[in-house]
């Protein structure tokens, strides 16, 4: 018997043969918990795809290649570039005369460490903004969700036409995935329970009739401001990471450093030395040497980074949203032409 085709059916599947179905973790767009495990999973998935599946699709010029894949592949130059920078600083020094080699390695090692600290601080510092904003407003700008993608088959035999992309609910401030934040009434959840929570946290009141409509503009504002703070401050924290790596005490660390983790005693010494010299370098960065800007440079840089995070969070949690003075009937000016493109 032929049944009507309905897009409401969430198990829709265009596979020719059910037995060849790919076992996808999700069969519809699903909000994921923003926890370390999921973050690691998403990170790994993106990392693997960025180096394997997406380049393969890209080089073939696949008709399914999209902007998400292009953006995800942005990890590749980031990581390769970091490694390449380390190579540029260090790889030629092994050919130098002993004294020159020691001098070049001292600088090269610190610059390499700088590359490492740049990446770590840039990523770590994002939470300096997103976490306080989440705690103070209830809006998680990093909230991930898994998006199920249906692709065009490459050819008549292509049955593998679904895939998962990992996006963020608020990655677009113009088109946030509001729909993913509604409760599932079939599971007994209140439709607006997530919006209710945010409204309550924002001090907009409880038991609002249409909390979703009330908080959406405010959420947009928070997301924009928090993203601004996150972006700017993460680069300043990354700069602080490079500055930290440029301190003299690291020379002592590199003298004893080994990456041979299987040599327990030596590796333990490496970790110990790293900790000690990290503290010494942090002090050295803060205290500075010499006088004037040379001495104060570290304090200024750390101060700027900290200030950018603090001010960014304060700006994000403070609403500049004031009721519009324009009357509803005047929103569209009858004398103007409007275009949607």
């Amino acid at each position: 018997m032929i049944l009507p085709v309905s897009s409401v059916n969430k198990n829709i599947n265009f596979s020719a043969d059910k037995s060849e179905n790919k076992a996808l973790e999700y069969n519809h767009d699903t909000v994921l918990k923003n926890n370390p495990v999921n973050k690691a999973k998403i990170g790994l998935d993106k990392f693997v795809n960025a180096f394997t599946v997406y380049p393969a699709k890209g080089f073939k010029g696949s008709k399914n290649a999209n902007f998400y894949e292009f953006l995800t592949m942005g990890t590749v130059p980031y990581l390769i570039g970091s490694g390449m920078m380390m190579a540029v600083f260090n790889s030629a020094s092994k050919h130098y005369a002993p004294f020159d080699r020691v001098m070049a390695r001292s600088i090269g090692n610190k610059l390499s460490l700088g590359v490492l600290f740049y990446g770590i601080m840039k990523n770590l510092s994002k939470s300096f903004v997103s976490q306080p904003v989440k705690m103070l407003t209830g809006v998680d700008i990093e909230q991930p969700y898994a998006k199920v993608i249906y692709e065009l088959p490459d050819d008549i035999n292509d049955t593998d036409i679904t895939s998962i992309e990992h996006h963020k609910v608020f990655e677009s401030v113009e088109f946030p995935r509001w729909d993913l934040l509604y409760g599932d009434e079939s599971k007994g959840e209140k439709r607006n329970y997530k919006y209710d929570k945010i409204a309550k946290r924002l001090g907009m009141g409880e038991n609002l009739k249409d909390s979703d409509q009330e908080v959406k503009p405010r959420i947009k504002e928070i997301v924009v401001k928090a993203n601004l703070a996150k972006n700017i401050s993460s680069y300043l924290w990354a700069a602080a990471g490079v500055a930290l790596a440029a301190q003299e005490p690291w020379d002592n660390f590199f003298n004893v450093m080994t990456l041979k983790f299987w040599k327990g005693k030596e590796f333990k010494k490496t970790l110990q030395s790293f900790g000690e010299n990290f503290i010494k370098s942090a002090k050295s960065l803060w205290q500075g040497e010499g006088k004037g800007i040379t001495k104060q440079g570290g304090k200024i840089l750390l101060g700027l980074a900290a200030l950018s995070s603090i001010l960014g969070v304060l700006n994000a949690v403070t609403s500049t949203h004031t009721p519009s003075k324009t009357k509803a009937k005047d929103v569209i000016n009858q004398n103007e032409k409007y275009v949607v493109n």
Partner: protein, 840 residues
Amino acid sequence: MSTNLIQNYIASKNVPAQTAPKKPMPDFNIQRELDNRTFIKPLNGKGKLVNGNIFMAPQQMISGLGYNLRALKHAASGCANDHELGKINDIGLVGGGAAIASYLATKRFTPMTKGMEFVGFGAFLASMALWPKLAIQLPAYLIHGVNVQKQYQDSFGRKKPFYQDPQFIPWDLYTDEQIQKIGDRMGVDKNMLNRRDFIQEKMRKLAVQNNTLWMMTAGFATPVMTALACDTLKPYLEKRSNNITNKKADKILQNIDKHSEKYKSQTIENKLKELIREYNGKQIDDKLTTSIYEIFTEDIDAVTSESLKKDLKKILDNDKFSINESTAKNISKNLKNMLEKKNYSTEFIEAAIPSEEEFVNLFKNSDYIKETQKVDFQKLKNIISREIDTRISNFNSAHPAAKEDAKAIRAFIFGKQSKINPLIKELTSFKSAIFDSAVTEKLINAAKIFDDFRAHKLALDEYALLKVGAAPETVIANYWNNVSGDLLKNLHITNKELEKVRFDRNLVGKLLREKIEAIASNDASYNKFMTTLVEKVASLNSQIKSSDITSDLLNSQTEKTTYEKAVDTVFDKFASSMREKGFSKTASALAGNGSDEFGTAKAIQKAYAKERLLGVKCSFYRLINALDFYRRVATDPNKFKPYNDQLPREVLEELIELCKIDTLSGHSSDQATKFYMLRNPNPERDFSPLEVENGKIKNKFYGKAKYGTTDIPGDKTFYQHAMKFMFEDDMHPDTKSILEKSILKDEISNYRKQILEKIGGQDYFWKPRHRVRPKNNTGSDIKFLLTGIAPDELIFKRGQQAFNSGKWFRIFGGFGAGLLGVTVLTQFFLGKLKPVEVKK
């Protein structure tokens, strides 16, 4: 009859009868709506393609800056859109990069290294932007005729990459004519059905492939491009930096008063004022005196410091002491303590030593409660001594059983050294000089003069440092690097050769000798090499003019240089002012007396600059002289004539070998201690002429001695001949002709003379009593400077640096070129698309 499934289905579902839908707007009249103009429809989009080329990138970058700043403003107020938020990342990247460059610049010490931090950052940004343009966009356009990085502007004026999202490409922005033209360029069949669709698909595919190629290569390319760009830019920046440094130095002497302003921190005066606030009106004790010494002598040499202390002492110390009632009381207490320690009875002590009050009365009656000098102490001592004698005598009379020896007690009390004598110690504990306005005014006046002098001296130091300082990026250091770097190129020493010898100075020396012998044996090569070298070496004289700084030994000019005049002005003015304030010893130590300035700070100030210049010039003059010697050997070795006799060929061969070794490798220590030359003690009696081939002596005997070789310290003339050959004999006509046209002519002539006189006149020249000139007492520093660096050592050091840079460049230059090649070649495999076959 077959079953109609649809009919069955309808029948089974009992489908209700269809009724006509209710008209939604029963009164709607299209004509009326049109007449009233209330019918709204979308207008045509305003989006357009952005036309431009890669050379417009800087312009686009600047115009984008305004947009980015607006985006920042919108984001801060929470109303930015996605496109604007994307631009915030660019701002963050630039801001963060600038922060890194700024911080790292604070960790660098020279203008060039500081500047390179910013150049590196700029080069990084430029590389990020240029790689996709040069390695992706341009080749793709040239090969396929498609701009894969095309941009468009949407209806809201936002610029976006045309192929950013392959699932949403605004094809309507391309006219049909444009697409067809691209299709023609790509060689698409003109008669193809749905040709536009095919061309668009081909363009899309090409863009997706190129975007992927960009992502896969940018990580390798950007750091390498950045480093190569920095490496390429560095020499130009160094040249510019050198010009700035040189001009900056010249400006200092043009107006030293103005330039010294920045050093007028009034350190001495301010510190002194602090001290005055603390000690005003108090007695000048040792602690205060030491503090004043420290303030005045900070950063001043030891000799001048001692003179300054003597002058200050005259102000601070009047050699008088203040004796008051507490002095008298303390003396009583101290004497009693002394006797108690010697176990004298309390009864005796109380009887023999006057009480505190009695001492006060004794001092008062003797008129000693006053300011007194050391010479009066003896009188006071006698008074006290007599008083104690009388008291002991009285005690002995009253207590014969407990009689004490007055003489012994007196010896015990007064026999101690003055420093620990309780009496003297107490008397001298209060100096009478008071830190009053009379003293402080003198000190403040002196401090002002000192602060002014110090500021001017620091300005002079800065000038000397910028011009000839032993530091990176000074004019002389840049010159050294420049000349020595060119030397390697002109000697045609390759990286391959350096790789083999770079760790061993002796091997570098051998390589250098080979190169020089080859050059010296060829007329054209020699003239070219020597002309270039002389020009390069002479360039220092245009950067540091002999009228500004000169080395007396090489230059016969009698007029003082600009630097010397400035030093004289600063030091003499200071000395004169200090003399007026009573600091005559300080004035003498700094500036001497009249024309005698030997050993003064002024002479040292002048000598530093001269000697630095001398050392550098002599290093390169030595090389010119060495090359000339090799040229003379290469062209006519039999022209070398000993002073008075004809020498056997074997000795001449040994002599020339010695000269070749010494000119390229000799250190000043070789000439000041023992110079070993292993020779045949019984040379063959062969007087045949020397033979030469390709700059090398064809040794008939040298190195072939049958019975071994040894140093012959008794052969006085051997080393004298060597000096004659190297420094006294006429230079080669080719060299003379080149020098004749150069400003170095006189200086090189003087250099050779000075070597003969100063080094050839050493008491212990090569061997004791082997001098070639009368004995002189030149200091070892001047001999060291005259000798300069040995050419083999110069090449050894510079060669290592050149090898390091070369190695790095070969690794990453090769890598960069390879990557570019592969990226461009990849284009030929992209954009392949088969036309859809139409089944007929």
